[in-house]
């Protein structure tokens, strides 16, 4: 860490850039995804503003006068600077965000945090386990995997939602499935009698999902309890702990390790996470109120 400070000083030799200053981005499109989720598509106001990110990283999104929230980037890392953020309406800021219209401007800081180890999956099976909105931070990884599909073996998405109507990115998933690039298994908590798919928790699908446990990389994102039981099932099938990655969520006020809110045991979710290799948080995963 110290060498980075010296480097910064050497390059700027004066005032350092303020990491708390948002950059204006203009909304290109607001897309309702499901009943309570929507996607904002944004472009930087300054066209010269570059942006690169790795799958799994997040941005801090600022709504004028209302506040700032951390939201994972859910767009294609190969198609920047257009950024998409899918989020659920859950609080003051996301509620205000949903009211924003095409053409309005918001503030962005980022990208922050760790990322999914897509490169490490080369030559291996990939199991992606998502719960609800947890698919959003995983979609950039899917784009990356699909862009270089031949580098990987089987790619399996196990996806649990509350109802069939809560499925995100349905058309895209069906397109990938249609090309036999992606095996998808969906399960829902409840459904009308017309639903012919699985009903139940996503963890029940792991035992019979088509992957080779000895050569698999797993990426998990969803409610903490879902990830905890998914981890147990994956380990039971013989996936090594160091091949399991999960994305954690905590309150964040800064995204850069200053505010202290996102602490999860010894880690800061904003800079050590949000994507963690299982061994780094195994000791605290599942402990209550950490």
């Amino acid at each position: 860490m110290a060498p980075m400070l010296e480097q910064t000083e050497a390059v700027t030799a004066g005032p350092v850039p303020d990491p708390m200053l948002p950059v204006p981005y203009r909304i290109q499109r607001v897309k309702q995804e499901t009943g309570d989720t929507f996607t904002l598509e944004i472009l930087p106001e300054d066209p010269s503003q570059g942006f690169t990110f790795a799958p799994g990283q997040f941005n801090m999104l600022y709504v004028f006068g209302v506040g700032e929230v951390p939201i994972s980037i859910s767009s294609d890392p190969g198609n920047v600077p257009l950024l998409k953020h899918t989020t659920r309406v859950v609080g003051t800021v996301t509620k205000a965000m949903r009211q924003l219209k095409r053409g309005e401007v918001m503030g962005i800081r980022g990208p922050f945090g760790s990322h999914w180890p897509v490169e490490e999956a080369t030559g291996r099976d990939v199991v992606i386990v998502a719960g609800g909105i947890g698919l959003a931070p995983l979609r950039p990884a899917l784009y990356r995997l699909m862009a270089e599909r031949s580098k990987f073996r089987r790619i399996v998405l196990l996806y649990g939602t509350r109802t069939p109507e809560d499925m995100l990115y349905r058309h895209e998933l069906e397109r990938w499935r249609g090309k036999f690039d992606l095996e998808i298994q969906v399960t829902v908590d409840r459904a009308a009698s017309t639903w012919r798919g699985n009903v139940g928790v996503v963890t029940t699908m792991i035992g019979r999902a088509p992957f080779d446990p000895s050569n698999t990389l797993a990426m998990l994102c969803g409610p903490e309890i879902m990830m905890r039981f998914t981890v147990m099932e994956l380990l039971k099938r013989g996936v090594a702990a160091e091949c399991v990655y999960l994305s954690a969520e905590r309150n964040m006020k800064c995204g850069i390790g200053f505010c202290g809110h996102c602490q999860y045991g010894p880690t800061f979710v904003c800079k050590d996470g949000p994507v963690f290799a299982l061994p780094s948080i195994a000791a605290i995963l599942g402990k209550s109120e950490i």
Binding site: V16, P19, M20, E45, G65, K253, C259, Q263
Partner: protein, 398 residues
């Protein structure tokens, strides 16, 4: 260095590591040397029944002849028998309020039509502080906050500017407070680095003077404006004796051996339920703590709705909101919030920053309204640690 027999009023140029003696009546010139170099002088002064850190204009503002009595949940000022300027321990303030202000405007934003303009906080020069009377534990606390704001991937520009401008006059502690345990934390009572000048107050046989150690070239330059003479062996020995006495009279102690592992394996210890019966989750401990750095942000708009500001202010992990994510707070119970605070101070901090988050200043003990004592809580967990540390292979123990 040879000790000259003759007392020179302005000695030869001083060097880092050298020690000199400045008489009490000349200390004023040290303060004025700093003021004349446009430093904003802050240090201990008496206010509202406590010794706080505030602006100083002269040595007359220092709490001459005062001391403090400190215990769990207790702080009282008392008169001393002498006119010592630094005859007390640390009070409710710490220097973080200057380097890392409790409230800061981060930026302003203006709406223009559908657009949005973000303006950095007003272009004002950061203050150039001289801290007068920084204790060893506090130097460590500053170094710990440096790790948060300067030594990670991101740098806080305001903190960096204030920190770079800073001049530090440290004071070695002539007596330990009732809740002090810096000796346990290896952070005091002697200032060993991170200062420009370090004073040890000598008061004996009618003589009142300060042994001054030079810690930087800037410190040497300031000292050159003040009458001083090389410290004699006797002066240095007396200073060492004072510090030795202070170290042996700590009001508290904390066994830090393997403390990280101790707390990591005791997340479910019944002592957390016990402390919950007493903790008011008032956040006093986090506010007085010189290393606690947590903040929150507030967004405000004016009446027109065209102008918004973002403010950062100190926050505390003892509030319910602190860990709020959609659906509720992660740490909803006081038990988990006290556990978070203490485990962070003494254990997770070590993984995060390579040092303990506790410097043994004792403020959290003194200013806890119910006198919860971090040394007692950690000690209680150690005393009934159900999982003993792995046996030491090197010893012939059963």
């Amino acid at each position: 260095m040879k000790v000259p027999t003759q007392r020179a009023k302005t000695a030869e140029p001083s060097h880092v590591g050298d020690s000199f003696v400045v008489e009490r009546e000349h200390l004023e010139q040290l303060l004025q040397a700093l003021v004349s170099r446009s430093y904003e002088l802050v240090g201990p002064t008496l206010r509202d029944g406590a010794i706080v850190y505030d602006h100083l204009t002269s040595t007359a503002d220092l709490p001459s002849g005062w001391t403090d009595e400190q215990a769990g949940g207790k702080y009282r000022l008392q008169r001393r028998q002498d006119q010592a300027l630094f005859g007390y321990a640390v009070g409710p303030h710490s220097w973080k309020k200057f380097l890392f202000p409790p409230q800061q405007r981060l930026w302003q934003a203006a709406r223009n039509g559908k657009g949005l303009q973000i303006l950095p906080a007003e272009e004002q020069a950061e203050p150039k502080y001289a801290f007068f009377g920084v204790r060893a534990c506090e130097l460590h606390a500053i170094a710990i906050q440096d790790k948060v704001y300067l030594e990670g991937q991101f740098v806080d520009p305001g903190y960096k500017a204030r920190r770079e401008n800073l001049f530090v006059v440290a004071v070695n502690c002539g007596q330990a407070g009732g809740t002090c345990f810096c000796a346990s934390m290896n952070t005091g009572p002697k200032a060993t680095s991170g200062f420009d000048l370090a004073l040890t107050e000598l008061l004996q046989d009618g003589r009142h003077c300060f042994v001054v150690e030079v810690g930087s070239v800037r410190g040497a330059e300031i000292l050159s404006a003040v009458p001083h003479q090389p410290a004699s062996d006797a002066d240095r020995q007396q200073a060492e004796r004072i510090l030795d006495h202070t170290a042996r009279h700590m009001g508290r102690q904390l066994d830090t051996l393997g403390i990280k592992e101790l707390l990591y394996r005791n997340y479910e210890h019944p002592r957390w339920d016990d402390v919950t019966q007493r903790c008011l989750t008032c956040a006093n401990c986090t506010i007085v703590c010189p290393t606690c750095f947590c903040t929150t942000v507030e967004d405000v708009t004016d009446l027109t709705g065209e102008h918004a500001e973002r403010w950062r202010r100190w926050d505390s992990c003892f509030t319910v909101d602190f860990s709020y994510i959609h659906g509720g707070s992660v740490r909803a119970t006081p038990r988990s919030r006290y556990r978070q605070w203490m485990t962070h101070k003494l254990a997770t901090w070590i993984d995060q920053f390579g040092v303990s988050g506790c410097v043994g200043c004792g403020r959290c003990i003194t200013w806890c309204p119910v006198g919860i004592d971090i040394t007692v809580e950690a000690g209680a967990i150690r005393a009934s640690d159900s999982i003993k540390a792995p046996p030491d292979q090197s010893k012939d123990s059963p």
